[in-house]
Amino acid sequence: MRYYVVPKIGDGLGIDTAFRPKYTDPGSLGVGWNVGPVQAMDYGLENVFLVALNLDATQHATLAAQGDVLSVPNPITDLVSAVALPTVKTKLEAGNIPADWVTTALTYKQVLSRVMRIIQFMQRFHGLFGQLFAGGMTLDTRINQIPIAQRNNLRDAAVSLGADTSAIVGTTLIRAALVIVADQLFVNGLPFGDTTF
């Protein structure tokens, strides 16, 4: 099992054009391309998916070679390498997933674990309130720069998942707030792919 962050495609209007991970459609990377079963985590209304795929070595090399794909090295119990670190941070941040906390002291599994929880929070936010990163909001926006209604939405989405938001104050950046909430979620583990994170 391998893990990838890929762009989102589709328009959500029907079965054939549902929002789905890029490169998972049969034939999308050439004749014969078929990734088989797909496990996918959408990042709410943002434009990336985290996917778990069982690819052979050739398929993996093909997918990993795509410029808009972040391929998580195997085994995921390895520490994030110094060589990979800039790529991991850049590609996660490009998808509005905070990654300033990623260091070479963490394993890829630890990185995925926090990223998945951030993703799950954004799914809840989407289900309740829609898109978080709208109207110029970025990961570096402070909580007290967000309109009060959206601030309350953030709080309510977090509370609905059982998270305590008392550590999030006006000067907290969105990127930090997402991590504060994410670290409180799925205390018993989050299964994805063939691993519980």
């Binding site: 589709g10 959500g12 209007l13 029907g14 079965i15 549902a18 929002f19 789905r20 991970p21 998972t24 088989g36 079963p37 797909v38 496990q39 996918a40 985590m41 959408d42 709410g44 799950q120 929070f121 799914q123 809840r124 989407h126 289900g127 829609g130 609905s160 998942l161 799925f186 989050l190 299964p191 994805f192 063939d194």
Partner: protein, 189 residues
Amino acid sequence: MSLPKLDSFTGANGALHTYDANWTDLFSTTLSISGNKVTAGGPSCGIWTGDTFNDDQYAQCVTDATSRGGPAARGRQAGDSTADWYMCYVDQAVSGDLRLYKIVDGSLTLINNFGTLAAAATWRLEAQGSSLRIYKNGVQQGSTQTDTAIATGSAGVTPYSGGTFDDFEGGNLAVASPFFFTIGASHRA
């Protein structure tokens, strides 16, 4: 009314909500009964609103060779013209795929494509907390999926791309009893 709700759709051909007003259409296409099965001409979802479901619930229905859709969990009206639900998509008619989708504000997002596992069978979708499970004839298909977008709603059936469906069952998932015996204790008053 009480759960679980069972419905074999035995009635005159016509709109499902005419057959029973406690079936509510969530999407633009109206569900109908034809030949004692439920069907629809386009993207659709019908939820049972005759009872209140717990957040932890299941929906079950029987598919056939024409089916493109399946049981729906946590269906709810999201706004004036939008809806949310989780859809077990059994596509025996075209791709052969078994997929799990969520519909949020009327937009579809893929959660899992389990592969070519579609079959004429009894399909069950369970939503428990953030866990989603699909069963075919009582056997779980693939692994448990995780999604937090839709936390509440009602069970139903979703003939999303057509076909016919029968023998609906929807109910609450059993909660483990907290009561236990202490071995050797006396329970006399």
